[in-house]
């Protein structure tokens, strides 16, 4: 089966229930330049995505750029099926892996090994794949005996190693990636980078949210500039980035991916 993503006129509204103070509401309203509104029942809602439509097929690599809170992560969550749209249609064909959160829902009380298993079970892996996943992560993360100790006592570097190994162990057809995975110095160890690139190359479709100009230029064939939940620019990464940054791109050698 060929991977495919169809997003048709999708909007996502966040109701905010816990902002109950009216003065807070007014402040937020004033600050957020019209993206906050009220629905019929007078709840405060954030329009996280507004009328987004696009189609991605096998081989497409989409980069999402935009300011914080522009809706990049929300779009990734919609594609992962975590948020369901209130308007429009989302169709995703193919296996999906979403690397949205460095902890990937890890439970810090469980040992590293138990977290690997749990993650595999959440992903619906069959028994033999679970064992393979465990071996793969164990080899890559190189945590030694710590793998059998609770994640709670890990150093932050060890958590990142485990999270990264786990996130990159499962090869999906569609890879949804938030920028965290590219952040941090430890990540840029040669080993981590080549593993990530293998994974990106192995995926049929990549949707990547990033603030990094280089990453988008290197890895993407198409870019969206998201602003206040709308796609305001859609095109080749060079063109969209130039307009987004408001300056010509730095003259640079294109690295090989």
């Amino acid at each position: 089966m060929r991977a495919r993503i169809d997003v048709d006129n999708v909007s996502v509204l966040f109701p905010i229930y816990h902002a109950n103070s009216r003065s807070l509401k007014k402040t937020v309203l004033a600050a957020a330049s019209g993206r906050l509104g009220q629905d019929q029942q007078h709840r405060v809602v954030v329009q996280a995505l507004r009328e987004v439509s696009f189609t991605l097929g096998s081989g497409d690599r989409l980069g999402l750029i935009g300011a914080n809170g522009a809706g990049k992560t929300t779009l990734l969550r919609v594609l992962a099926g975590i948020y369901e749209p209130v308007m429009g249609r989302v169709g995703v064909k193919g296996s999906v892996s979403a690397l949205l959160d460095p902890n990937l829902g890890m439970n810090s009380e469980l040992t590293g090994r138990e977290n690997i298993r749990l993650r595999g079970l959440y992903g619906g892996l069959p028994g033999h794949a679970l064992r393979q996943l465990e071996e793969d992560v164990e080899e890559f993360a190189e945590l030694g005996g710590f793998l059998d100790l609770p994640v709670r006592i890990y150093s932050s570097g060890m958590v990142v190693r485990l999270g990264f190994a786990l996130a990159t162990a499962i090869r999906p057809q569609i890879l949804l990636m938030d920028e965290w995975i590219l952040a941090g110095d430890a990540m840029f160890l040669e080993k981590a980078r080549s593993r990530l690139e293998n994974m990106v190359r192995g995926a049929e479709i990549l949707v990547l949210s990033s603030h990094s100009e280089e990453v988008v230029l290197d890895w993407c064939t198409r870019a969206f500039w998201l602003d206040q939940g709308r796609v305001i620019e859609d095109g080749p990464p060079e063109a969209v980035l130039t307009r987004y940054l408001g300056r010509p791109l730095k003259a640079r050698q294109r690295e090989t991916v």
């Binding site: 089966m1 999708v10 966040f14 109701p15 816990h18 969550r77 992962a80 099926g81 975590i82 948020y83 369901e84 749209p85 209130v86 249609r89 989302v90 169709g91 064909k93 193919g94 296996s95 999906v96 892996s97 979403a98 949205l100 959160d101 902890n103 990937l104 829902g105 439970n107 009380e109 090994r113 749990l118 595999g120 959440y122 992903g123 619906g124 892996l125 069959p126 028994g127 794949a129 679970l130 064992r131 393979q132 996943l133 465990e134 071996e135 793969d136 080899e139 890559f140 190189e142 030694g144 005996g145 059998d148 100790l149 499962i170 090869r171 999906p172 057809q173 293998n198 994974m199 192995g202």
Partner: protein, 351 residues
Amino acid sequence: MEAAYPDKRTQLGATAPTRTRPSESHGGLQGPFSTRNGSSHFREEGLSLQMVAAGPQIGYARRRMSIALSQRPVAAPSPELELTADMSFPARLRLAIRDLRDGLALWRLGWILGWLDIRLRYRGSVLGPFWLTLSTAVMVGSLGVLYAKLFGMALQDYLPFMALSMVLWNTLSGLVADASGCFTQAEGVIRTVRLPFFLQPIRTVVRNALTLAHNVIVIVVVFTIFKIWPGISLILLLPAFAVWAIDGLLVCLLLGTVGARFRDVPPIIGSIMQVAFFLSPIIWKPDQVPGGAPFLPLNPFFSFIEVVRAPLLGTPLGWLTWFSVIGYSLVLAGITLLLFPRARGRLAFWV
């Protein structure tokens, strides 16, 4: 550097006796020079979590293997996702039913999660989940003797009743209390992976069933001491616990949804349950209310406890009690069926 890890682990093992954590006595706690491939497994794990732990690995050979391994990556299973925003009730009901079906298909995962919850709660404690047994035993022992005196009843009449009632009530109130947090507690997972929401009620019910299983020991001991044997009427427990399980799942769906939206629900439920404890015949016997017994089935807590308690104690069980249980179950199912489909799509935003 590498050799420092196992040292640390041995120390940990010493503070928490291995008896409560047998899983680690196999592969996990071995020193650096012990055999490789000791197998370690989760304790709950007759199930599926059997895992072969590679022993501590030092050196070059293993590292070379990692290159070989990464050549055959784990392929993710490929489901298809098709979501059309449709706010009509039938469309949302279809999605909700699919959620329930997919959740049931994952019952094994729900079972494992429930087990892990219990194990984590007591990780590192000497008795582990048997603390539950012990605290119930102390409670039943002390209150049983006191109230038998206060009510002027013979201990062999009162204590079995009280032990059974207490254990059942603890299960019921524990389940209801857990239910309101059943989705909010799983926030991390709900916002990371697409999973059927119904998995969380399954996990909550499994967790509480396991708690009950630990407390059953107290009942068995008390019944043995007072030589009570319910005999053939034990069969009646099957339909009773089936209803408990189904209603437990429904309560989790309903209260979990409401609790995710309104954060005041857990404390409200807490105070309701406290009142219900005193209003229901748990520490007092139904026949102590002169003339009031016919009205007891109006209290759902009484009915649900009585369908389990009566067969075990050999007291007659009126058809009215079962009628009440089924009636309340239908009401619960109806409300859940109206509410959960409407709220399901929003749950990920609420938690």
